[in-house]
């Protein structure tokens, strides 16, 4: 039986993880490799590293970090943040990333999805979509959620699949950081409309939120950042809880 995946997301700034971390027994909470290993030990199914470094010079450090992660991590991981070209992707894949995620650049130049998919395969292309409900409907935003770009999230997800996306990472901006639960309506709508896996993101605050998104939508995975970093939810406890709720979990 294919399992539902639990994916912690680590924000990377200049090669270090950011956001406060409440783990005990962690020597250096700022070291992405150390934190990643802790998550794996607790049962994470996959990891996402999101680079939020602003400057191009500092971004070069990312390649070195990805090499270090790839050398030490024995589960799949995705790298995202500021990827604008096939060359960016090539550097990250060569360094050992299993998948890359693109967001703003995919909306600005959708052809990039096809270029990456044809060169490295659809399996490594995660298209991240930031969505928010406005008077116009569920709009797609870019630039970290600042700029509305496309009127219809479902239509964009379908288009991304056609262009060669292997997975959709759908983040509800209304819910992100609120701990009010995943946006099940739009997650269900997107999951229903595409035949590639959808990762739900934004709003996780309790273990029941994970149960609800797996129960009420067809999503394949659920991602969270702060909820795991701050120790509000322990991944192993979460997985035990979901197993008891009859959700297929590794």
């Amino acid at each position: 039986m294919l399992k539902k995946r639990i994916i912690p997301c680590l924000d990377i700034l200049n090669g270090r993880t950011v956001k406060g971390v409440n783990f005990v027994n962690l020597k250096d909470a700022g070291d992405p490799v150390e934190l990643a290993k802790t998550y794996i030990e607790r049962g994470a199914d996959e990891l996402v590293f999101l680079d939020i470094t602003a400057t191009i010079e500092n971004r070069k450090a990312l390649t070195g970090l990805v090499e270090k992660i790839a050398a030490q991590i024995n589960i799949p991981f995705t790298v995202g943040g500021g990827i604008n070209s096939v060359e960016d992707v090539e550097n990250l894949i060569k360094a050992g990333a299993d998948k890359i995620s693109i967001n703003s650049s995919a909306v600005r130049q959708p052809g990039l999805i096809s270029e990456i998919a044809s060169k490295f395969g659809s399996q490594c292309v995660v298209v991240a979509i930031d969505t928010k409900k406005t008077d116009a409907g569920w709009e797609v935003f870019i630039n970290g959620g600042r700029t509305p770009m496309l009127p219809d999230t479902v239509a964009w997800a379908i288009e991304a699949q056609k262009l060669g996306a292997g997975e959709i990472l759908l983040t509800s901006m209304d819910r992100d950081g609120t701990k009010d639960g995943f946006a099940t309506y739009i997650t269900a709508a997107v999951s229903r409309s595409v035949s590639i896996p959808v990762i739900a993101s934004g709003g996780a605050g309790t273990m029941q939120h994970f149960r609800d998104v797996f129960f009420n939508t067809d999503c394949s995975a659920a991602l969270a950042a702060g909820t795991f970093h701050f120790g509000l939810i322990d991944i192993r406890e979460l997985k035990n809880y979901l197993r008891n709720e009859n959700i297929d979990i590794r």
Partner: protein, 192 residues
């Protein structure tokens, strides 16, 4: 020394990283001499079957691989290329395993991505592994079940999770990305 076959497919470095973690020396190569003298050969890969087969033929690696006498492990695309034929770009493959590779019917999310357990398993690759252990898959094509199948998995339909014929072994899943379970399976191969 373990030889990892170098060709135009992704994910090759991941296999070397996994061998490093297990303490085995390896070399990424497509030199027939180096492949022949290695203790074991790993034939990994993520990518498109048609262009991969074309590359192997152009570099004459195809014949080197099928003539290998030491234990060989195909992973993911490596497993598919060791079969007779794949629907992906209608490609003739190496023909070690007497079965064909087909695209999953559109009755679920494709690709099959994530952790899945076994329906059945036997053979020395799976010593110490149980049916409920999960391994990581990423693929849109699958090898049909055949007499060479040693482990099966179910997604949309039952398919070959692993195969073995003589010195040739293969897994559709990625042991190098499958946490502790994958490491055990890799070690079982390395200790053959």
């Amino acid at each position: 020394m373990i030889a990892i076959v170098k060709y135009n497919a992704g994910n090759i470095k991941s296999v070397q990283n996994a061998l490093d973690r297990l303490g085995f020396e390896s070399v990424i190569t497509n030199d027939p001499k180096e492949m022949k003298k290695a203790d074991k050969v790993i034939f990994p890969g993520v990518g498109e079957a048609g262009s991969a087969m074309q590359f192997l033929k152009e570099k004459h690696i195809d014949k080197t691989i099928t003539a290998l006498e030491q234990p060989v492990l195909g992973i993911c695309l490596g497993l598919q290329l060791l079969c007779r034929h794949t629907e992906e770009s209608d490609t003739e493959c190496l023909g070690i395993f007497d079965t064909n590779v087909k695209r999953f019917p559109p009755a679920g999310k494709i690709p099959h991505v994530g952790w899945n357990s076994f329906m059945s398993l036997h053979g020395n690759l799976f010593s110490g592994i149980s049916l409920n252990d999960d391994v990581y898959y990423v693929h849109s094509y699958y090898a049909e079940i055949s007499p060479h199948t040693t482990a099966t998995c179910e997604y949309i339909l039952p398919f070959s999770a692993s195969m073995n014929r003589d010195n040739f072994y293969a897994t559709q899943f990625h042991p190098e990305k499958s946490c502790g379970t994958g490491e055990k399976i890799l070690l079982n191969f390395l200790q053959l």
